[in-house]
């Protein structure tokens, strides 16, 4: 009898702990959702420090996907000129070339490279043979700002 009561008590504890954990998880998820900042590309680049290391939602037409492994892509703002670099993060392995010309909504972390790393990044970029010709996304490719995408969805083809 005593053993049965003990098992019921343990089972109750396990269920309530699980509930608490689930509620905490839900709360964390809710607060995480609140932290995602929706911004346009122009807004991001106008005040980068405000968005640094924050989770942002940004969308635009994909103008270019890197042909060498799909490790970066570029989206253009509504002004048709300003572009930003998106790199894969989280579970994203690569961006597919088929994304070019599609409007894509990205969720990710807005990053700013520290000056030393940014200088190395530019040097590395300019040393690559296929980067000799300046293209419309070249300044976004060399920029210290980028979004490390954790999720994306094609909004239109």
């Amino acid at each position: 009898m005593q053993r049965s009561i003990l098992w019921v008590f343990i089972a109750f504890l396990a269920v309530s702990c699980n509930q608490t954990a689930k509620q905490e998880g839900d709360n964390q998820e809710a607060s995480k959702t609140e932290q995602i900042v929706s911004a346009t590309i122009v807004e991001l680049l106008a005040a980068p420090a405000d968005y640094q290391d924050k989770e942002v939602a940004v969308s635009g037409m994909v103008t270019h996907v890197c042909r060498h492994g799909g490790q970066k892509c570029f989206i253009v703002a509504d002004d048709g000129e300003t572009q930003i670099r998106i790199v894969p993060g989280g579970d994203i392995d690569e961006f597919k070339i088929e994304m070019e010309g599609s409007t894509v909504a990205f969720k990710g972390i807005f990053r700013i490279l520290i000056p030393e790393v940014a200088a190395e990044h530019v040097e590395d970029h300019e040393s690559k043979e296929h980067h000799v010709v300046e293209q419309s996304h070249s300044s976004a490719e060399k920029a210290e700002y980028f979004v490390e995408a954790v999720d994306f969805k094609e909004v239109s083809e």
Partner: protein, 188 residues
């Protein structure tokens, strides 16, 4: 059974078992080497053709009707996605499976069709361990097997042609070549 018989057994059985894997990694290795060297892209086949637009164009004049006309000229109406202007002189029209670049001052249209390169794309997918999960385990097993194949190979033959003779010299050469190239490219 003495150790040489075991050694031959390991070399032979692993050689059979991992034949397919060696071909996969060998072919994709060559492809990736040349991809790194930027000779060609193992993932895609890209073909471009040039067409002349009957007139020159200006950014301000380009509208949906202009885009339609270019799409009809190139036969890509069904594949249209979106367009934008990379700079003042160029118009880029995105298509399913490619894009059209228009040099507006000259009216020169370049239609580029892009498709996945068969075989190499799949081999690279495996080489880069894109599938992850079970493939990671099997390719790790292969890597370990390859080490065993290499070590057991050293001791297949006894005597002058073995590791104590000509085989040993070839082994040293094979170790020295990557070492010398590494020193040359990395530290000199």
């Amino acid at each position: 059974m003495n150790w040489r018989k075991w050694n031959r057994w390991i070399h032979r059985e692993l050689g059979f078992l991992f034949f397919g894997m060696t071909i996969i990694y060998g072919i994709s290795g060559i492809a990736l080497n040349h991809s790194v060297a930027r000779h060609w892209n193992p993932g895609f086949i890209s073909k471009a053709i040039s067409i002349q637009y009957p007139d020159t164009l200006q950014k301000a004049d380009v509208d949906r009707a202009t885009i339609e006309k270019i799409l009809v000229l190139t036969g890509e109406k069904a594949n249209y996605k979106q367009y934008y202007f990379p700079d003042q002189d160029h118009l880029m029209i995105y298509l399913k499976g490619g894009h059209i670049t228009v040099n507006m001052p000259t009216g020169k249209i370049q239609l580029t069709k892009i498709r996945n390169r068969p075989v190499f794309r799949e081999l690279n997918y495996l080489h880069y361990n894109k599938p992850k999960k079970l493939w990671t385990w099997f390719s790790d097993l292969y890597a370990f097997g390859l080490i065993l194949i290499a070590i057991s190979g050293l001791f297949l033959i006894k005597g002058k042609k073995g590791i104590s003779g000509r085989g040993g010299i070839l082994t040293i050469i094979g170790v020295l070549i990557p070492l010398v190239l590494l020193i040359f490219y990395l530290w000199l």
